[in-house]
C-alpha cells in the first residue's frame, strides 16, 4: 500500500502518526488518572466520571463566553483560568457527592456502580436542562489553533502539544501529591488499613472526601482540555466511560504507573491499527485485545504479587 509514496513522505507520516498516538495517549491518561485514583485507591467505581469531565468542559465553555463578552483583552489566556475553575468546580461537586452518596457505600463497590450511574443520568439531564441538548462549541484563543511546521512535511498541532504538556504536568503533580506529600501518605495509609489509619489520628472521612474530590477535579481538567479537540454535549461523557475503565483495569487498578503504561499501550495499538485498518475495526480489535488479555491476566499489567 505504500508503493506510491516517497520515502520522505512515509517518514513524515510515521512521525506524525507517532505524534497522533501520543496525543491519544495524553487524552487517555487524562481520562484515566482521576479514575485510577478513585477506583484504584478507593475501590469506588465511579460511573459518573464522564459527567465530571463534561462539567469541566461546560465550565470552560462558560468561561470562554464570559471572557469574550466582558474581558476580550485577556481572552488569549482565559484557558488557564478555565482549567483551574474546571478543577475547582468538578472537585467541589465530587466532594459533595462523596459526602452525600459514596461514603455510605465503601463496603459495597458494586452498589457504588449503580448509584453513580444514577448520578450520571441526573447530571446528564441537568446539563441538558441548563445548556440545551445541542452540543456547544468552545471558542479557543487563536494561538491554540494551527500547527508548528517542524519540517517541510511534518506538522505538529499546537493543541496536541498543549494537551500533552498538561498531561505531563498533572501526572507529575498527582504523583508528587500521592508519593511525596503528607496528604499522600495519609491517603495510602487509609487505603491500606482504614481502621489503623483512623486509630493513629488520621481523619479518614476527610481523606476520602479529598481523594474523591481530587479524582473528580482531575476529570474536570481533562474535560476542559478536551474542548480543544472534542465536542461537549450532555451525553458526551458516556462515550468515554468504557475506554477509561478498561485503561485503569488493564493497568492494574492500584498502580499509577500501570495506568500510564496501559494508556500508552492501548493508545499506540489503536492509533497504529487505525492507520492500517478502518476506525471501527481498529477500535473493536483494540478493545477485544484488551479484554482477551484481561481474561488471561486479570490482575492487569502492573501488580504486586501479594500474599492473599
Amino acid at each position: 500500500m505504500f508503493g506510491e509514496y516517497s520515502l520522505g513522505d512515509l517518514g513524515a507520516i510515521f512521525a506524525m502518526q507517532g505524534f497522533a498516538g501520543l496525543i491519544l495517549f495524553s487524552v487517555y491518561v487524562l481520562m484515566a488518572l482521576g479514575l485510577a485514583i478513585i477506583f484504584g485507591q478507593m475501590g469506588v467505581i465511579n460511573m459518573a466520571h464522564g459527567e465530571f469531565m463534561i462539567l469541566g468542559a461546560y465550565v470552560t465553555y462558560l468561561c470562554s463566553g464570559f471572557f469574550q463578552a466582558h474581558l476580550p483583552g485577556i481572552f488569549p489566556a482565559y484557558f488557564f483560568l478555565a482549567m483551574a475553575l474546571a478543577f475547582v468546580a468538578a472537585g467541589l461537586l465530587g466532594m459533595v457527592v462523596e459526602w452525600a452518596l459514596i461514603r455510605h457505600l465503601y463496603k459495597r463497590p458494586l452498589d457504588t456502580l449503580l448509584a453513580t450511574w444514577g448520578l450520571s443520568l441526573i447530571l446528564q439531564q441537568a446539563y441538558r436542562s441548563i445548556f440545551g441538548a445541542r452540543e456547544v462549541g468552545v471558542e479557543l484563543p487563536s494561538w491554540m489553533m494551527g500547527s508548528v511546521q517542524a519540517t517541510d512535511t511534518i506538522e505538529i498541532p499546537i493543541n496536541g502539544l498543549f494537551v500533552m504538556a498538561i498531561t505531563v504536568l498533572i501526572t507529575l503533580a498527582v504523583a508528587g501529591l500521592l508519593f511525596a506529600s503528607r496528604y499522600g501518605k495519609q491517603v495510602r495509609a487509609v487505603m491500606q488499613n482504614r481502621v489503623m489509619a483512623g486509630a493513629v489520628g488520621i481523619d479518614t472521612g476527610r481523606v476520602d472526601r479529598l481523594t474523591f474530590g481530587l479524582g473528580c477535579g482531575i476529570a474536570g481538567v481533562a474535560g476542559s482540555a478536551f474542548t480543544m479537540i472534542g465536542s461537549t454535549g450532555p451525553t458526551s461523557g458516556q462515550l468515554y466511560i468504557v475506554d477509561t475503565f478498561l485503561i485503569v483495569v488493564f493497568g492494574g487498578a492500584a498502580s499509577l504507573l500501570g495506568t500510564i503504561a496501559s494508556a500508552f499501550s492501548i493508545s499506540q495499538t489503536q492509533s497504529t491499527l487505525e492507520f492500517f485498518l478502518s476506525g471501527s475495526t481498529a477500535k473493536v480489535i483494540t478493545l477485544l485485545a484488551v479484554v482477551a488479555i484481561l481474561m488471561l491476566r486479570p490482575q492487569g499489567l502492573f501488580t504486586l504479587k501479594v500474599r492473599r
Binding site: L304, K305, V306, R307, R308
Partner: protein
C-alpha cells in the same frame, strides 16, 4: 535430617499420610516458607507452633492449595497435591478450618452442615441433591457432637463465637476427611468453651490425622502427639512436646519469654 528424628520412617513415602518435602514459597522475593519438610503419620495429631509470621498459616495454605508452592512437594497418600485444585484436594480427603470462623452467615446451621455433606459436589449433583434420611441423620449426629443440636434452625450469623468455631469444625467432620487441618481452633474462646473444644477434638481424631496450629501451650500439651516448631519460614525443631520444650533453640525464640 528429618528422617533421622522420625521413628519408624523406613518404608518410604507410602507409610506417611502426608509428606511435605523442601516446600518453599516466596512472595516477591520474601520466602514466607523456606525449605520446610515434615511428615505426618496416619492417626497422628501434629501441632505446628511458632511465633507470629513464622509461616504456619502459609504452610496450611500450601497444603490445601490456597497458595501455590514456588518449589517442593506435598504428597498426600502418595498423591502430589501441589498440582491439584483446591476442590480436588478436599475431595482427596483433606479438610481445612480457617483461623477466623468461616461459616455461611446467611444460612441456617442445618444448611451450613448440609453444604459440607460430601455428596452432590458437582453442579448437576447439587441440582439433583435430595435431603434424604441419610443426610438428615448424619447432620443430626454431627450437630450433637458439636453441641449445636438445638440450634439447627438458627441462622449461623446469630451463633456465638465459640459456636461458630464448632460449627466450622462440624462442617469439616461431615466431610469425613482423613487429614484435618485446624488453624487456631480455640482462639478467642472462653475457658469453658476451650475445654469443650479439647473434648471435641479428642473425640473426632479417631481414625484420622490432624494438623493443628495453636498458640495455647496448655492446649497443645493436652492434645499433641508431636510438635513442629516453625521460625522465620523454616523448621526449627520437631518432636514430642517434651523434647521441643527443652530444645534450647526453641526456648530462645519462642517459649522463653
Amino acid at each position: 535430617m528429618n528422617a533421622a528424628i522420625l521413628p519408624g520412617a523406613t518404608a518410604g513415602d507410602r507409610d506417611f499420610l502426608l509428606a511435605v518435602e523442601a516446600l518453599t514459597v516466596s512472595f516477591d522475593g520474601f520466602k514466607a516458607v523456606n525449605d520446610v519438610s515434615f511428615y505426618v503419620d496416619p492417626d497422628e495429631i501434629r501441632v505446628i507452633i511458632g511465633p507470629n509470621g513464622a509461616g504456619k498459616t502459609t504452610v496450611l495454605d500450601l497444603i490445601c492449595g490456597r497458595t501455590r508452592a514456588t518449589s517442593g512437594s506435598i504428597k498426600y497418600k502418595g498423591t502430589e497435591l501441589t498440582k491439584l485444585s483446591e476442590s480436588a484436594i478436599v475431595q482427596a480427603g483433606v479438610g481445612r478450618k480457617f483461623q477466623t470462623p468461616s461459616i455461611y452467615d446467611d444460612l441456617t446451621v442445618f444448611e451450613n452442615l448440609e453444604i459440607s455433606f460430601p455428596r452432590g459436589r458437582s453442579v448437576l449433583g447439587a441440582l439433583m441433591f435430595k435431603r434424604d434420611a441419610e443426610v438428615r441423620d448424619r447432620i443430626h449426629e454431627i450437630a450433637e457432637m458439636i453441641f449445636l443440636k438445638d440450634q439447627l434452625d438458627r441462622r449461623a450469623e446469630f451463633l456465638s463465637h465459640g459456636q461458630k468455631q464448632w460449627l466450622e469444625i462440624g462442617m469439616l467432620l461431615i466431610q469425613d476427611p482423613e487429614l484435618l487441618m485446624l488453624d487456631e481452633p480455640v482462639a478467642g474462646m472462653s475457658v469453658a468453651e476451650r475445654k469443650k473444644t479439647a473434648e471435641l477434638l479428642h473425640q473426632i481424631i479417631k481414625g484420622r490425622s490432624v494438623l493443628v496450629i495453636e498458640h495455647d501451650m496448655k492446649f497443645v500439651e493436652d492434645i499433641a502427639h508431636r510438635v513442629t516448631v516453625l521460625h522465620q519460614g523454616k523448621v526449627l525443631s520437631e518432636g514430642s512436646m517434651e523434647r521441643v520444650k527443652t530444645d534450647p533453640k526453641v526456648v530462645e525464640v519462642y517459649l522463653g519469654h
